[in-house]
């Protein structure tokens, strides 16, 4: 057997290019589906992990998927809006901690997440550079967005207009970058966080402008009635909140009717969670409560149905490759007839010739298995990071 292996090895060494092609083909056929399986499993795990860490989500009735995707991964598909009253309603139940989210606006292609301090505690986000949000107009950047945009605390970032062609739309707000978060390897790394009120300022619900009671420019004033002054569009609106104009920023009306996209509800315990869910069973309610894990799991079930098709395609391709290899091997046996005849003439038994050819196959399969194991090891080792970069960006 050792001599058969030796001769097989010599053949393989001599025909190294052919062998490398064969080994690579076999390795790829094995590695591709296995790697895909690893990456899909890892992406399933990571997607579910974020969802499972978010116990309950309250949003306006509509697509539960849009609500979950927008609130968990800051997807740019904005769900139906609801008011801050929804958060107050949860607060009043004393069953859960409400964390409002307003994920509607963007800055240079990245989401602006309007929220409260509780969100940072809830997600375990810590400040790596600079400080947390303190004033209206402050923003804290996720680790990756800071790197991508090349921003440090002390610099500024401008919100993107929702619609370039809406002349009556809100002005972009120049926000101060006051801090950068430590990497969390989640969607938070690619978001710009602002206080909920700053998000409302971006929308134009809160604003600051020159004091109309003190202005000497008569062309700005439309009408004066007692203490009320009506001004026209010429009135200068501030597009940046700074120490000098901070006091001029104000919100008209009751903030409880101001919009949010969702409220994360963190129940105090399982029972509280169940009770809270019960509060939203009324079909006349304008809000819905969802368990993100269920929604994402449902989504994954649908997505991963494709996996079955993919597996079938890979199996067919694999089978075709194996058949091709058998054909190649059979043809190579024909090409090697003379060599086989020579060995036979020298006195070799047919069984020994078969053993030599088998040894070649064994060596090729062993080399492919080894390469495959190494490749799978590498994919497995980097799967978490790879999937994270694909999901988070």
């Amino acid at each position: 057997m050792i001599d058969s292996l030796y001769l097989a090895w010599q053949y393989i060494r001599f025909n190294r290019i052919k062998t490398i092609i064969l080994v690579t083909s076999i390795t790829l056929i094995a590695v591709l589906p296995l790697s895909l399986e690893i990456l899909l499993s890892e992406s399933e795990r990571q997607l579910l992990a974020r969802a499972e860490s978010t116990p309950l989500l309250v949003g306006a009735k509509g697509s539960a998927l849009d609500l979950a995707m927008n609130s968990l991964y800051f997807d740019d598909e904005v769900p139906e809006l609801m008011t801050m009253a929804a958060a107050n309603r949860i607060y009043d139940t004393e069953l859960a901690l409400p964390i409002p989210l307003y994920v509607r606006f963007q800055t240079r292609g990245h989401p602006i997440v309007g929220t409260t301090f509780d969100y940072f505690d809830f997600r375990g986000l810590t400040i790596e550079k600079g400080q947390s949000l303190t004033l209206l107009g402050d923003c804290v950047l996720g680790a990756k967005i800071a790197v991508e945009l090349g921003l440090e605390p002390g610099e500024s970032l401008v919100s993107s207009p929702e619609n370039l062609f809406d002349l009556a739309g809100v002005y972009p707000l120049k926000m101060r970058v006051v801090g950068v978060l430590a990497p969390s390897h989640s969607a938070d790394d690619l978001a710009a966080f602002v206080d909920l009120k700053t998000a409302w300022v971006i929308q134009g619900l809160g604003h600051g402008h020159q004091d109309v009671t003190r202005t000497r420019d008569r062309s700005v004033i439309l009408k004066r009635e007692g203490g009320n002054v009506a001004a026209n569009a010429k009135l200068f609106h501030y597009t940046e909140i700074d120490a000098e104009n901070l006091d001029s920023f104000h919100f008209h009306g009751d903030t409880s009717i101001y919009p949010v996209t969702a409220v994360i509800a963190v129940p105090h315990d399982d029972k509280s969670g169940t009770l809270l869910r019960g509060r939203y069973l009324n079909s006349e309610d304008l809000e819905q409560i969802i368990q993100p894990a269920e929604v994402i799991d449902g989504l994954l079930q649908n997505i991963f149905r494709i996996r079955t098709v993919l597996d079938a395609v890979i199996a067919i391709v694999g089978l075709a490759t194996i058949l091709t290899m058998i054909l190649v091997f059979t043809l190579s046996l024909r090409l090697r007839q003379r060599e086989i005849q020579t060995i036979f003439k020298l006195g070799c038994r047919k069984a020994t010739i078969a053993r030599m050819l088998s040894a070649e196959i064994v060596i090729i399969l062993l080399a492919s298995s080894l390469l495959c194991a190494v490749a799978i090891g590498v994919v497995d080792g980097y799967a978490e990071e790879l999937v994270r970069s694909l999901l988070v960006g």
Binding site: D3, Y6, L7, Q10, Y11, R13, F14, N15, E339, T342, I343, K345, L346, G347, C348, R349, T352, M356
Partner: protein, 228 residues
């Protein structure tokens, strides 16, 4: 080897290739031990077939073949292979070297492909010694594709001589060589045969070489009923 004893003896030998009109019929053929016999004759007359029958590569349809004390025609396939590998050195016209093996591995190949021969350090030393005698010691690590025709044939002769066979069958051993190499290879073959006391049966087309053999058989006459 005892000179004068019969090394090869065949009686009423018949052979046909399937699906072919060729048939070989030899009434009687004998070669004495230590004899150097040349077999000449036109192409297709069956010279190579005779060598293959003597070596046990082909099986006769009728008749007997005796090589030394062994009735080769009575042996089964495995027995004929073992007998061939131990007792017969075959020098093929086209060298029959394996491209993927080094020259040394080609010389030692008979020892690797069968259990009938045991590859030892002594055998390796003998292979190196033989290659030295044949003038190819510097090429032992090279592959056949890197060697000239003459060098390849010398390697093939080394392989045939390595087990010290009693009988050497050479099929057009010098057919592919230029005149200089032809003489040199034949000198080496004769020297080796003499040194080991082997019997040599060589098929050749080259009439200039015939005077160097003890006996010449014209295969055309021989097949039509002649005997040696």
């Amino acid at each position: 080897m005892i000179y004068g004893k019969t090394m090869i003896h065949t009686e009423s030998l018949k052979f046909e290739y399937p699906d072919s009109s060729f048939h070989l019929s030899i009434a009687h053929f004998a070669v004495k031990a230590g004899e150097k016999v040349a077999v000449v004759g036109p192409s297709g007359s069956g010279k190579t077939t005779l060598l293959n029958l003597l070596a046990g590569i082909l099986t006769p349809m009728a008749g007997s073949i005796q090589v030394g004390e062994t009735a080769v025609s009575d042996l089964h396939d495995a027995g004929r292979r073992d007998f061939r590998i131990r007792n017969i050195g075959f020098v093929f016209q086209d060298f029959e070297l394996l491209d993927y093996l080094s020259i040394l591995d080609n010389i030692l190949n008979s020892y690797r492909i069968t259990d009938a021969l045991k590859l030892t350090g002594e055998v390796r030393q003998r292979a190196i010694h033989l290659s030295n005698q044949m003038g190819i010691a510097d090429h032992l690590k090279r592959h056949p594709g890197e060697l000239s025709q003459g060098e390849k044939q010398r390697a093939a002769i080394c392989r045939a001589l390595l087990p010290n066979p009693d009988l050497i069958l050479a099929d057009e051993a010098t057919g592919n060589l230029d005149p200089d190499n032809k003489t040199r290879i034949l000198d080496l073959l004769f020297e080796s045969v003499a040194a080991h006391g082997s019997t040599l049966v060589a098929v050749t087309h080259d009439h200039e070489l015939l005077p160097r053999f003890d006996r010449v058989i014209d295969f055309q006459d021989f097949r039509t009923g002649g005997t040696s």
